[in-house]
Assembly symmetry: C2
Homo-oligomer: 343 residues x 2
Amino acid sequence: MGSVNIKDIARMCGVGVSTVSRALNDHPDINQATKEKIMRCIEENNYIPNNSARNLKRQEAKVIAILVKGLSNMFLISMTKLLEAEINKRGYSVALERIKFEEDEVDIALELVKEKRLKGIIFLGGDFEHRVDKLKELDVPFVLSTAGSKPDPINKENYSSVSVDDIHEAYRMTDYLCKKGHKRVAMLSAKSDDKSVGYWRLEGYKQALKDNGIKFDKDLVIYMRPDIEDYSMKNGYVVTKEFLEKGVDCSAIFAISDTLAIGCTRAILESGRSVPGDIAVAGFDGVEASEFYYPSITTISQPAEEMATATAKILFDIIKGKGGHQHLIFEAELIERESTNGK
Amino acid sequence: MGSVNIKDIARMCGVGVSTVSRALNDHPDINQATKEKIMRCIEENNYIPNNSARNLKRQEAKVIAILVKGLSNMFLISMTKLLEAEINKRGYSVALERIKFEEDEVDIALELVKEKRLKGIIFLGGDFEHRVDKLKELDVPFVLSTAGSKPDPINKENYSSVSVDDIHEAYRMTDYLCKKGHKRVAMLSAKSDDKSVGYWRLEGYKQALKDNGIKFDKDLVIYMRPDIEDYSMKNGYVVTKEFLEKGVDCSAIFAISDTLAIGCTRAILESGRSVPGDIAVAGFDGVEASEFYYPSITTISQPAEEMATATAKILFDIIKGKGGHQHLIFEAELIERESTNGK
DNA sequence: TTGTACGCGTTATCAT
DNA sequence: ATGATAACGCGTACAA
């Protein structure tokens, strides 16, 4: 029962372990006949190489890790798919790791580098406010993709980033709503103590109001509830319902995620109001559900494909020694849909 | 640079490697003072143990692997969260692995067992039609949770399963629609060659029609398109649109997933028809989006919490030698919502 | 082309 | 309480 290892296979085939190893790894220096014999033996005995031993011994592995903060974000999930395709295309494989909100992604990255001899790391999501000394320990190239805020700008030359400008895009959407004639635009933001996208997008919202000559009114800022799952439709629904019951005057709501926007829309419609007739709604991200909701949700669509392509390109250029670190900001697209534009 | 290892730490502290190992693993046989000294040294030098070496040497690890087939299914994602909580509660950690549709989950499981000395495996999703000899190789206990069809019933005593009865639940929903007076109920199923839930739920649909004295009409079966992502809202939207354009008479559509149902609903509304007035729609799974869509979608809600609890309990009972394999079927709940019941 | 022997970083065993 | 040393399973330089 003690499962078979490379030695057993070697013994059974009457060859040395190195020959078996060569057969396994498609090494050129091996007789085709013996290779086939070995492979057949491996098949028959259900031999499976031990990855821990391989990782331990191997000097380098063509592996890129993708560390995703929080698994429930559909936008990040679709990003991983795109990234994986880009990475596979280059003959590398992907180690996908999910990081819980309370975990430290840098700690996990550090472990992974040792364990799997990674060639590079892609961080997806997360606020990424980390201690500089820890970051310095990471001696493999890494790219921050779609991260909320940025680490200490002091050592920007040690890593790359690919993202959209949250302030700018939130500004764009708010401005769009103002230009549509809305004087009372509410913002459905993250938790009140959020330091990540919630903070930056709120910032863009404020600037746009100002430039449109509208005074910021803190009563128009709706915060996510900490006791309900972050960015869930339910959270958007519950807080909007409470907001509507307060009777604050407003003709448009801008939510910092499409999921929140959907919950928000449901709450409005359920109250007997119409969307966009009574209240217009806008979201952020461009996830599939925003397109198929009824009414479809106006949103800021992040250019996922381009961002994935750029992320992979930057990372591999650095790996191949062909380029230095870069910080790319992508322009998102405002997709106008029914939730702000009649049906 | 050349990252520090346990030997370096031992040398720096003037102790043997085994003492360092003891400090790391909270071994009892160690002086508190030396332990603290070592831990401080580890901290200062940013030493991180190599997991590959640990896994290689360790006899056993308190790790359960969860293998999820396809990462985009929201129902499965919420199941992983529940399962992880159950497993952590028992002092074990989780290795979450995502399996692509074209990959073989058993192969990956076999690898993982060797690599990480797993104590158990939970398979989430997937059709699970595997060769018996391969399954037999898996010498750690495993549970199939929410799997579509079942492996060869011949050796049911070698594994456990937790699921809902797809035929029964599809029957229930179809019957509900018939009892509501619908004589022409369409089924939005999986791809035409599907052998998994698509097949079983279609089976339940047919039986319910029969028991309600309605003749099965193959023109009322809508299949997912293979060229669009499986179970996506877009797929539901596109095929429904095509279906409506054919002008086939029907007053209700039962989709085998909520995501498909949402795309379907959008297509109907967009065509100028009303839901449920002109056509009623029902889904399957009970994901969050079905609740917040407008109209909210009638669905079969799987009891995720109970299934997760049961899955963990069965697995740990077997690990502790306290019980044998079981095959549990859970009763799902038909949640009646606006999409079949007026607004 | 093939086999032998060593080392990867750690934990377990056995002395001390 | 601590240290030396043998595994764990594999890849690879080097010898044959």
